[in-house]
């Protein structure tokens, strides 16, 4: 076996070794940020939240898991509690969600979301929700790794 071939094979082995590391790191990154990466990519397609106000009232919300898959749909008829507690209407299978995490309710004809003192906070279009905040179709509410999308 000529030394040249051995050197090439050695380099191939090393490259393959790093290829493995790269693939493994990618699997890890997808696990950690999978939901968020997809969320960011999906952003440009959505209408701007500020302008969305005029496009009518929201009528339902869609729950998406960390991988962006649709879990369930809820009609906006009354107050909706989000959390892992048994009395909640939306109960995400997500360890980053608190027992009583957030609430979507109707205040004087306008739908608002508010945080219920959750551990990890509630985010409306990447902004932390500090008090009752109005929502409109196209908005994305994030609790833990779960996203609740507001639809018309």
């Amino acid at each position: 076996m000529p030394p040249f071939v051995l050197t090439v094979l050695k380099i191939v082995l090393l490259l393959l070794l790093y290829f493995f590391v790269w693939r493994a790191v990618r699997a890890v990154v997808l696990d950690l940020y999978g939901g968020r990466v997809r969320e960011r990519r999906a952003r440009p397609a959505e209408p701007r939240p500020k302008r969305g106000r005029s496009r009518g009232a929201p009528s339902k919300v869609v729950v998406l898991n960390a991988d962006g898959g649709r879990v369930s749909t809820h009609r906006l008829t009354g107050t909706i509690q989000i959390g892992r507690g048994t009395n909640c209407d939306i109960r995400p299978d997500d360890t980053y969600v608190s027992q009583m995490h957030a609430r979507i309710s109707n205040r004087n004809g306008a739908w608002v979301v508010e945080d219920l003192g959750s551990t990890n906070g509630t985010y409306l279009n990447q902004r932390k929700v500090t008090g009752p905040t109005g929502i409109s179709p196209g908005d994305r509410i994030r609790v833990g790794k779960t996203v609740v999308e507001v639809r018309r």
């Binding site: 493995f20 493994a24 995400p92 551990t119 906070g121």
Partner: protein, 449 residues
């Protein structure tokens, strides 16, 4: 609300990584043969088939019993073990057969652990039984008749021709015990009542376990003359105490106790003094042919390797005494160079990082402590031996997880891996009870994540 699709995606990721790992393991083995004798080793097909069979079996067991487990654990361990096998075969072809058997036995126990333990909380019920077993394992080599002293350290047990190091499985048992014990007492231990300068300390009686662990590790140091295990046990204990309580004071206190113990060990034992002298003056002409020979050869080997290494089978790692156990890292450094050793380190970082990630993701305090403790075993062991071989810290003989030759170590590490897989699998689909979490994880979640 858990859906089957993400589980399948995870398992497929695992399978893809596993195929890559097997390719690399078999490739490394074939390259060793090419480098040594200019031809592919005779046993390649048989070895490859045995390995592929064992690994695929392990993967199927995970698919069946822990479908939500982290996909990185098994392939990374398989790759480490595969590279280790190639290097061991390269150093001494006579050891390859035994290592294959140990590897298959390890995979069998990996599967058995997953079959027997469907939920890691099962282990939480046997706190003291497991703790007692762990201590027995740790002290077994001291028993007259079966204990054996190999090169100054009394850490072997021999029954007839069979020999093993009970401390290897003992450390896993002790981590299970500590996880269970600390989980039940984390609130008590987290309350500070006394102040010692800048340190807030809990009630003295709650400090007792720390002192007991310290005493135990000193006993190991005294009676078995095993620096590595002693360091490992104490380190694991301090880290787990920290995770359970979230109080850095324990870490500071642990380092202080360690410094006292280390100074004491240095003053009391010749072999500890030797290690430090060699560490500081390895190239001293009076030491280099004698006590410093092994470490000096290891450094020469890595220097010879350079950036890309001499190539598998083309270096001279045989000059390093015990290259197949404690000094396997130096052999990798010579034949695969800096690039190979960095890749090896990255694999450990991945494995350990995923272990801690499983800890943070686990919904119960016991699982969090268990995964954190097991990952700490891997982290400390890797740091201590690689640090020793590269002369960053004084050398303490301990195996490099999954890579070094040695049945006890490989089998114990496969069981450890199965437990990590189990905890990472249980993390999904069960709601987290914040009240049951360790203080460390609670604090981490409050910071946001």
């Amino acid at each position: 609300m858990s859906v089957a699709a993400p589980d399948r995606a995870r398992r497929n990721t695992e399978l893809a990584l596993l195929i890559l790992a097997i390719l690399l393991a078999v490739g490394a083995y074939a390259l060793v043969g090419l480098g040594l004798e200019g031809k592919v080793p005779v046993g390649l097909a048989g070895y490859g088939m045995l390995l592929v069979g064992g690994y695929v079996f392990a993967h199927l067991v995970v698919r069946w019993l822990a479908p939500q487990a982290d996909p990185v654990f098994l392939p990374t361990a398989v790759l480490l073990a595969g590279l280790g096998f190639a290097i061991i075969y390269r150093l001494d072809p006579g050891l390859a057969g035994a290592q294959t058997l140990w590897l298959l036995l390890g995979l069998g126990l990996f599967a058995l652990t997953l079959v027997a333990i469907r939920d890691h909380r099962q282990l939480d019920h046997f706190t003291y039984t497991i703790g007692l077993l762990g201590i027995i394992m740790l002290l077994l080599p001291l028993a007259p008749g079966i204990g054996r002293t190999v090169r100054g350290a009394r850490l072997w047990v021999g029954i007839g021709p069979l020999q093993f190091q009970p401390a290897e499985i003992g450390k896993v048992l002790l981590v299970i015990f500590l996880a269970s014990y600390l989980n039940a007492r984390k609130e008590l231990l987290a309350v500070a009542t006394r102040r010692l300068g800048p340190l807030a300390l809990p009630e003295p009686r709650h400090l007792a376990p720390l002192l007991v662990a310290w005493g135990l590790s000193l006993v190991v140091l005294f009676l078995e003359r095993d620096l590595g295990s002693s360091l490992l046990f104490f380190g694991i204990f301090v880290v787990m105490l920290w995770v359970a309580t979230g109080r850095a004071a324990y870490l500071v206190l642990g380092v202080l106790l360690f410094a006292i113990g280390a100074t004491f060990g240095y003053l009391a034992f010749d072999h500890v003094q030797d290690r430090v002298t060699v560490w500081l003056n390895v190239f001293d002409p009076r030491l280099i042919r004698d006590e410093g020979f092994q470490l000096a050869q290891s450094l020469f080997a890595m220097a010879t390797g350079g950036i890309a290494g001499t190539g598998l089978g083309e270096g001279q790692p045989g000059f390093i005494p015990d290259a197949h156990t404690d000094f396997v890292f130096a052999a990798v450094g010579e034949e695969l160079g800096l690039l190979g050793t960095i890749a090896l380190l990255l694999l450990y970082v991945l494995l350990i990082f995923r272990g801690y990630r499983a800890a943070v993701g686990s919904p119960d305090g016991f699982g969090q402590l268990l995964a954190a403790g097991l990952s700490t075993i891997l982290a400390l062991q890797t740091f201590v031996i690689i640090g020793g071989v590269t002369r960053l810290i004084p050398l303490t003989g301990i195996t490099l997880p999954f890579v070094s030759y040695g049945g006890s170590s490989l089998v114990a590490n496969m069981v450890l891996l199965a437990l990590l897989v189990r905890v990472s699998s249980g993390a999904v689909g069960r709601p987290a009870e914040d009240a049951d979490s360790t203080m460390f994880v609670r604090a981490a979640r409050e910071r946001g994540g």
